[in-house]
């Protein structure tokens, strides 16, 4: 019982801190919004990579799809999309606050559902792959999406797309998106907590530990895998829209399908925090994001080189992650869990 009460105290404290943060540090609101985005990236990656043992390098695909779908819906409700994108930069039509809000309110769920449906369709073929074939196949999918988006004129091709700009009269722009992203993360966190605590969590853990045996035990592995990828895609797609609107410009390779930055970061953050735990990705993303912002400030141009080095360092020397390390150090804090290789790298 105390355990549960501790949990609520913790959630309450984090919630209060998160709601107070943009008011206490108004000049860091954008960075704080990105912090929530990073946490979401790590959490959604961990559904597949950590809990189910399917290491996807292409989950950024769903984020990009969500970003584009949401922008197209937002624009398409009031203007002709092709005309809008071809006029990029010249005379961007303005949106009234209510048009903007309705567009976003409709665009986000549509984007999330579109991403989830895409995951189900792609999953029919991709989720049959195992191990490194899945990893490289998804890597290919992510880059393929970037290349296609960069060549498709309807959504602005390589010159990108400007989503509807945030209108005046809705208060502070960073604060608005901060709370939208915070809301998505809270929804994602509790959805995952609920999913992991039941049959679904056990099933995907069984798939991670030994898929053939899980199948032999009568689990519909394909169904669970598809649902897991769909949930992951849904939240990524949901976040795509507000992030596109927050940045104010969608570049196919650097914002929407940023495989070599966000696409890798999501893997890395989950590993840093500890794969296959609910808090690991949250902690990993927080530490990673703060470190990244420090690099960004002090390294002037060399930050991406340092990022590459950091990836190698974390993967080679710290693959068990913070939660895995803690579990090794003080197993009693994690209860009597019978596990041969706690949070170790899966096969």
């Amino acid at each position: 019982m105390t355990r549960v009460r501790n949990d609520y105290v913790l959630y309450g404290a984090i919630g209060v801190a998160a709601i107070a943060a943009p008011f206490v540090f108004p000049s860091f609101q954008i960075q704080l919004s990105f912090l929530w985005l990073m946490i979401l990236f790590a959490m959604t990656w961990d559904i597949m990579g950590g809990q189910m043992g399917y290491n996807s390098f292409g989950n950024i695909l769903y984020f990009g799809v969500g970003m584009y779908v949401s922008a197209v819906v937002q624009v398409g409700l009031f203007y002709d999309v092709a005309a809008y994108t071809s006029a990029a930069g010249a005379n961007i039509q303005s949106f009234t606050p209510s048009q903007f809000l309705w567009g976003l309110a409709l665009g986000m769920p549509v984007a999330g559902l579109a991403a989830a449906v895409l995951a189900a369709v792609l999953g029919a073929g991709m989720l049959g792959l195992r191990g490194h074939y899945f990893a490289i196949g998804t890597l290919g999918l992510g880059i393929l999406a970037a290349e296609l988006a960069g060549a498709w004129d309807y959504i602005g091709a390589g010159s990108g797309m400007v989503p509807p700009l945030f209108p005046d009269g809705l208060g502070s722009r960073p604060r608005f998106f901060y709370f939208v992203l915070f809301g998505i993360v809270v929804a994602a966190f509790f959805t995952l907590r609920w999913l992991y605590s039941g049959r679904f969590g056990l099933a995907i853990n069984a798939i991670r530990d030994d898929e053939d045996k899980a199948e032999a035990m009568g689990l519909h592995t394909r169904r669970y895998k598809t649902v897991a990828w769909g949930v992951s895609a849904f939240f990524l797609g949901l976040a795509g829209g507000p992030v596109g609107a927050m940045i104010g410009f969608i570049d196919p390779r650097d914002t929407a399908f940023a495989g070599t930055t966000w696409g890798v970061f999501m893997v890395l953050m989950a590993i840093l925090g500890g794969k296959g735990t609910i808090w690991g990705p949250v902690i990993g993303a927080t530490i990673f994001h703060v470190t990244q912002e420090l690099f960004w400030t002090f390294l002037l141009g060399w930050q991406r080189v340092a990022m590459g080095a950091l990836i190698v360092l974390i993967v080679v020397f710290f693959p068990q992650g913070i939660m895995g390390w803690l579990r090794e150090r003080m197993p009693e804090r994690f209860g009597h869990r019978v596990e041969d290789s706690p949070a170790g790298p899966g096969d």
């Binding site: 792959l129 191990g131 490194h132 990893a135 290919g140 880059i143 070599t260 991406r304 590459g308 080095a309």
Partner: protein
């Protein structure tokens, strides 16, 4: 599809595309040799493969800038890359050789990002090329055009393929490499220094990529971020041809080069890279679905 009609109407153009593709495919075969070698011996899928290729190109670029004739850099770039490969093995790769594939994929992915950003910092983001100094030959009343450098590339690939086969077959190190790839534990017991074998294999791979990059900078262009496409191309060739089958690698590479060229012409050049990645997904998913009928999957 108007462009298909053009191809049918102008067979010489169709032939030109196929030959161009095959000649480029020859260079891709080099990178694929290296990938198959590292994969087969060390059980590592080297995502940094493309960056090694690109670095070979930049090595040629730098050496040419120092006043060395471009063609003379062809043997020098592999030497430079051999050293680079050895250093990377000594710093990172030896720590991940025995670990599971996910760790090594991610570690080489990190190396790949590190290298491409390093190149970007040093040489800038622009695409660059080097003039080889060789001319282009024309056949059949100028209907067919063959740049000499590309023909040279095919020659080099065949020499490398044969050289690699002989090296693996009959030298002491080659035998050690083959023994290690069969069973590293047994090889170690029999007195093979597997660490040295892995270092040589990885450095050799980098050297082969260096040669490929050196040819690419003289036939096409290179840029700091074009590496990943070469990684995927090598991976594609290897999974189609299988590990340890040198003639099949060459054939698959020719096929990929030609297919890519046709796709670039028919779909438009902006879709050529997308075609490579699309092909990757289609081939692995397709092969996996075929295996799935026997309740197996790609390993």
């Amino acid at each position: 599809m108007d462009n298909i009609q053009i191809l049918i109407d102008a067979p010489s153009l169709a032939l030109q595309l196929a030959i161009d593709g095959i000649l480029i495919g020859a260079i891709l075969a080099l990178a694929a040799f290296g990938m198959a070698l590292v994969w087969g011996v060390m059980n590592i899928i080297n995502i940094a493969q493309g960056e090694f290729v690109i670095m070979g190109g930049y090595a040629t670029l730098t050496l040419t800038g120092l006043g060395i004739p471009p063609l003379l850099t062809l043997p020098l770039a592999p030497v430079v890359m051999f050293v680079v490969g050895w250093i990377i093995y000594r710093i990172v790769i030896f720590r991940v050789v025995d670990r599971d594939l996910f760790i090594s994929i991610l570690a080489t992915f990190g190396i790949s990002i590190l290298l491409q950003q390093l190149i970007n910092q040093i040489y800038g983001p622009d695409i660059q090329a080097v003039q080889s100094g060789l001319t282009t030959r024309f056949f059949f009343d100028d209907a067919l055009r063959l740049p000499e450098i590309r023909m040279l590339a095919v020659g080099i690939v065949i020499v490398f393929g044969l050289g690699l086969a002989v090296f693996l077959k009959s030298t002491r190190m080659g035998r050690a490499i083959r023994a290690t790839s069969q069973n590293p534990r047994a090889a170690r017991i029999m007195g093979v220094d597997t660490d040295k074998v892995y270092a040589t294999t990885y450095a050799l791979n980098a050297a082969i990529c260096g040669a490929a990059g050196s040819l690419i900078v003289m036939t096409l262009v290179i840029g700091p971020f074009s590496g990943i496409v070469y990684t995927v191309r090598s991976f594609l060739i290897v999974i189609v041809a299988g590990l340890g089958n040198i003639p099949a690698v060459i054939v698959a590479a020719f096929g990929l080069g030609a297919a890519e060229n046709y796709a670039g012409f028919i779909l438009g050049a902006e879709f050529q890279v997308a075609f490579v990645f699309g092909l990757l997904v289609v081939i692995i998913v397709g092969r996996n679905l075929l295996l799935g009928r026997q309740r197996k999957y790609l390993k």
